[in-house]
């Protein structure tokens, strides 16, 4: 760990990515993610970075695919509408096994929408927003500090599985300033024998996502599925708070987890046994976090019309015990607002 500083989420994330050895950044300005490309542009000379402002997110996502194909650490950062434009390349990178990192700062959609906080892109990030059967790892921090640490993990996970990884941020985390202890410098340490570098002294490497008949393409897909199963088995991340004795368990990630934490404290002060499950990996969804919690009542809170709640219902044995409260348009509920919802559920 390095020095303690007071930084905006986007800036702290960009600095941590540079410290993770990500020297290549291709991006297109879009609120609320623009401080990330701005930081890379500003630091390019001093740090020896390659920064390119692409013409569209369509192009930027293909540019990161290109650099990832050469084995270098590379990243883009975008928000809702830009993330939608990148989906074609997300599907491509997952199919081609390209280890790029994508920062998606959620803002309220659909369409242009607003530029405030939202979690409405959960489905798109977690279920695979592009075409075909694929998955991308998705990590969701709930603080600027955690964002700094997870963005460094993103590069290692991308290389470990040769798969794109999404850091799922939101407008609140991106724009918020907090005290952080910046992580140290990391070195890339992985097998790069697959990369495109010119085939001097080795057999040539070819990357294609174009199938060659049903038999070949089914095999290709089954190999991908095998990789996704391995990720599912190994990479679940979560934190549980006071779940053991709880009657009601809140489930929230990202910014919303901060609010849920406040609501949990209000409830405990009022004598209600309330706990919190905070998923950190959204794909794979942390199924293990719910082990032993089968009989509890759940209140899933999101800045959406109800997206992660579907995964909670798929995970717990009694989906009738899963309740939902969400806000839309950029509103972030207060802990008190969530506390009122908890009270409505009553205690068994």
């Amino acid at each position: 760990m390095g020095e303690k500083v007071f930084l905006q989420g986007n800036v702290a994330l960009a600095e941590s990515a540079i410290r993770a050895g990500c020297k290549y950044f291709f991006g297109y300005p879009i609120t609320p993610s623009s401080e990330v490309p701005e930081y890379y542009a500003r630091k390019a000379q001093e740090e020896g970075l390659v920064f390119v402002q692409g013409e569209t997110e369509v192009a930027c996502f293909n540019m990161i695919a290109g650099t990832a194909a050469t084995g270098k650490r590379v990243m883009t950062a975008t928000a809702g509408p830009g993330f939608s434009l990148g989906q074609e390349a997300m599907s491509y990178m997952a199919a081609a096994g390209l280890p790029a990192v994508v920062v998606e700062v959620m803002r309220p959609g659909p369409a242009d929408g607003e530029i405030l906080a939202s979690q409405g892109d959960y489905f798109q990030a977690v279920k695979g927003g592009g075409h075909g059967d694929y998955n991308t790892l998705v990590l969701a921090p709930c603080s600027v500090q955690e964002m700094c640490e997870l963005i460094q993990d993103c590069f290692e996970l991308a290389e470990k599985y040769r798969n794109p990884v999404i850091l799922l941020s939101d407008a609140l985390l991106a724009k918020m300033r907090e005290n952080v202890e910046l992580p140290g410098r990391k070195e890339q340490n992985c097998d790069l024998s697959w990369a495109l570098t010119g085939c001097a002294g080795r057999k040539h490497n070819v990357m294609t996502t174009c199938g060659d008949g049903a038999a070949q393409w089914e095999k290709y897909n089954l190999d991908l599925q095998e990789k996704f199963a391995k990720i599912k088995a190994n990479e679940e991340r979560w934190e549980n708070y006071q779940t053991e004795d709880a009657d009601i368990i809140l489930v929230a990630y990202g910014s919303m987890a901060r609010v849920a934490m406040g609501a949990m404290k209000l409830a405990r002060e009022a004598g209600l046994k309330v706990g919190l499950v905070r998923p950190i990996s959204l794909w794979p969804f942390p199924v293990k976090a719910f082990e032993g919690l089968g009989d509890k009542t759940f209140l899933v809170t999101e800045l959406s019309a109800g997206q992660m709640v579907e995964d909670v219902k798929l995970t717990v044995p009694h989906k009738e015990n899963v309740h939902f409260y969400g806000r839309l348009g950029g509103f972030v509920p207060s802990p008190k607002e969530i506390f009122e919802q908890i009270k409505k559920l009553g205690v068994k």
Partner: protein, 250 residues
């Protein structure tokens, strides 16, 4: 005995998927010959498109990647920025480049990317079965212009080599064709020039090749060769529209 002709070393033993009389196979062979002659095999990455040449990554013993439809210049940007000392060739057809990927090629030119782009213009979509392309000639019958391409509904053919010549980030733009032995030799010369320019830091080098498509055009190979002369060249004139001598290094 002296060897005067042999199969290019860089080629694999894979059969191509090209139809008889198609220009792709000729251009693919010229590229292979140049890779051998210029010793680029171990120094380069080939970027292939979606289109009739989609399987071309299998034809060369060379590092290669097949891009998404239209996105090859963006993908190649990521590769060349990472490996500026390597040879990077982008190969695209007219549907891929001029329709799906017009933004990507234009902005690769805007940024003056130091790679070579080979553009195969056969005025039709070959792989998907003979539909209209932006390069389809006025009046030309295709499966999506069954009464002939009309300006009222589909506008005009696009002259890429001329457009690229107007871009300050392009250091060389020439249109060639492969319908006679003499023109095949000229095409090889143009490709060689484009490849050499990659290492002069002058920006993007562009070669458009008018390519006969007997299957898509519904013609015998010999008649397709004639159609290049009679119908394509009047709209798409041959020649260099920008010479690298006019362009200083960046």
């Amino acid at each position: 005995m002296k060897t005067i002709y042999k199969r290019p070393e860089v080629f694999t033993d894979v059969n191509t998927s090209y139809c008889g009389g198609c220009g792709h196979g000729i251009v693919n062979k010229l590229i292979a010959e140049l890779i051998d002659e210029m010793e680029l095999r171990e120094k380069g990455i080939l970027v292939w498109p979606i289109g009739c040449s989609v399987y071309a990554d299998k034809y060369y013993k060379m590092d290669a990647i097949c891009a998404l439809h239209g996105r090859a210049p963006a993908l190649a940007t990521g590769i060349k920025r990472s490996l500026p000392d390597k040879f990077v060739m982008v190969y695209q057809g007219d549907g891929d480049m001029v329709s799906e990927g017009m933004a990507e090629i234009m902005h690769a030119a805007v940024r003056a990317e130091n790679f070579s782009v080979i553009f195969i213009n056969n005025a039709i979509y070959g792989m998907t079965g003979g539909q209209m392309a932006p390069t389809t000639l006025l009046g030309q019958v295709t499966s999506t212009s069954p009464y002939g391409r009309a300006v009222a509904s589909s506008g005009y053919p696009v002259n890429m080599a001329e457009i690229m010549a107007n871009m300050p980030g392009v250091c060389y733009s020439e249109r060639v064709t492969v319908n006679t032995p003499q023109r095949i030799t000229a095409t090889k010369k143009a490709l060689k020039k484009a490849f050499e320019l990659q290492f002069e830091n002058k920006g993007l080098s562009f070669v458009e090749v008018l390519s006969p498509c007997p299957t898509g055009w519904g013609k015998k190979p010999i008649d397709a060769m004639k159609m290049v002369d009679e119908q394509l060249i009047p709209i798409y004139p041959l020649g260099a529209f920008k010479s690298p001598e006019e362009v200083p290094a960046k």
